[in-house]
Symmetry: C2
């Protein structure tokens, strides 16, 4: 945490919301140092200077500067690829915001350029470090509620699509590319199994040219099924995570980590449930289990990742660690996103596509 | 409510949980009267006698008795059709439990027999009278939260499949035929639009030969999509109803009618949401709307059905009303169920099937 030892210089390209957020986070990290920024918007360049980061006058100037080791790309999505390819050609390493590109094809071009130049490319899939996700990962691996056979991962807002270019297809807008890439990345990172089918639905209720939300049902070869859903017209949110295991159910309501697990009480003698009045009918099936039949518990402690995104990145640069976000995983997620788009557009379930 | 005027006699065939529940409900109704029962199980016949309902010694004895006007069938599902066809041939009217038959083909045979004999057949789709459903129907028709474009109807329990024959395929067991027929019937009754596609998933996690739950995503021609889900391994239930409209969202948690609606506040000036910390990242999209931007309200009063199931049935018998549960609607739901089974078994979305 000592900036005097920060010997890896980073220039942030695109000093908007995410770019300036990176600057703040890197300041807290001791091994990287933001030495400047570049933004085509003069107001953002001025904001950068005010924040203490010199603004380069052109991207070429960044590329020509031999003091720059890493370029962090936080622009709209449509220019990630070109900026990265130029960076590699100039001998720079690259951290790139998500979604790294808008297609599998573009990403392949990008990774090929990185390999030719023998430079590092690491995509900022930062939500692999989210505590809520790491709790679910823990539950998945430790079988806290038995073997998980169903994972529902939802992010619900009611603000529509905020911002500017995020409304536009040409810039890679829309919720599947924005939030979808995080939620799908988390799943693919957690579940080591081939995806045998995906059924997607895209929402266009707000009249944008891009999706204002989506849902995707994934079937994994190991039997697990997952629902991933993003909504921007949900005035009441459903829980962030809802998971079912052979021994119980877990829920995480929101980012405050409110939640609980309810499991079968193996110690209790089985008591046949009594029918309850439900609406105008009776139901035994849907009666709550008898009081002694279940146990309510707290969420487990989250897994801890061994290092932060930035620490891991520096270790990769220094040759002492493998990247936690691997480019073949990123490729797999982009390919999955293309399958969700294809399914959403055709109304058909897509199979035999996974790059597992 | 005066049993002395109850001049329409009913004999209940199958005096189990549902059969005896019918007897209780009919007792509260003044126009029908249970004059006897028939059950192949001697213990149930004894229970009937104890409850004050003479037990016939055979189904033939019921059919031969000219005092019997209506036969109410509350047996396992596999024998509904044969019992009904025999009843019509003997000149009786029939009330039949749901699912009326296990296939479209069987139901067509049943309705043909009713028509030939000019007798009434009415299926006990009693959950059209459920208050929770009637609130949603009200919201759909009155646009309480704007035009509904998404309806999610879930019933979650944690008892597995209770009972005996409900575990077995030969008797028409499984959750799609048991609870599914109610939830799909409610939707089809409410939404006057063709179903253009359905994607189904069946759950077999409990190791039964029949589904222990299912989900079905229905796309209607009018733009509405619906999710219908039944689960018997859900130790924490998701809300019974979750509906999204162009102006807000509504939720009904459970049969106690706990719930609320949250709508856009048209009076408030638009305030761009502020980014919030969510996990390790920031999000503006998923930030809660500003406090003045939404209004929280109570659920509307439910629609009132003009009469109860039994009242309506008697009026149909007397020729003074149309049936509230129409056989072409029942046929449509059975056909939809077959499409959900087909989709679940093949893993494909099914189109061009609806009998709308």
């Amino acid at each position: 945490m000592n900036n005097e030892h920060a010997n890896h210089s980073v220039v942030i390209v695109g000093y908007g919301g995410m770019g300036s957020y990176h600057a703040k986070l890197i300041k807290d990290n001791g091994r990287l140092k933001v030495t400047g920024t570049y933004d085509i918007d003069g107001q953002r360049a001025a904001a950068s200077e005010k924040d203490g980061y010199p603004a380069y006058s052109s991207y070429e100037a960044v590329l020509r500067d031999p003091a720059v080791e890493t370029i962090l790309i936080a622009t709209p999505n449509d220019v990630h690829k070109d900026l990265a390819v130029q960076a590699f050609a100039a001998g720079k390493h690259v951290i790139c915001e998500k979604p790294v590109t808008m297609s599998v094809e573009d990403f392949k071009e990008m990774t090929a350029a990185a390999e030719r130049a023998d430079r590092v490319l690491m995509v900022h899939q930062n939500r692999r470090w989210d505590e809520d996700f790491l709790i679910i990962k823990q539950m998945y691996e430790q079988k806290t509620v038995g073997d998980l056979f169903r994972i529902e991962s939802r992010v619900h807002g009611a603000n529509g699509i905020p911002g500017d270019w995020r409304h536009l297809e040409a810039y890679g807008g829309g919720m599947l590319l924005d939030w979808g890439v995080h939620l799908l990345d988390q799943l693919v990172f957690m579940v080591d199994s081939k995806i045998t089918s995906v059924t997607g639905r895209l929402s266009f209720i707000l009249g944008d040219e891009v999706d204002d939300g989506f849902e995707a049902v994934l079937q994994f070869e190991n039997g697990l099924s997952a629902l991933v859903e993003v909504g921007t017209t949900n005035f009441i949110p459903l829980p962030r995570w809802y998971v079912k295991g052979t021994e119980g159910t877990g829920v995480i309501e929101d980012w405050s980590m409110t939640g609980r697990i309810v499991t079968r009480n193996r110690e209790a003698e089985h008591v046949e449930p009594k029918p309850i009045q439900a609406g105008v009918g009776l139901t035994k099936t849907m009666a709550p289990p008898s009081e002694s039949a279940t146990l309510t518990g707290v969420l487990p402690e989250p897994f801890r990742q061994p290092s932060s995104f930035y620490d891991n990145y520096v270790s990769v640069l220094e040759g002492t660690a493998e990247p936690l976000v691997k480019n073949d995983q990123v490729l797999r997620v982009l390919n999955l996103i293309e399958a969700v788009f294809r399914s959403g557009r055709t109304g058909e379930t897509v199979k035999d596509f996974d790059l597992y």
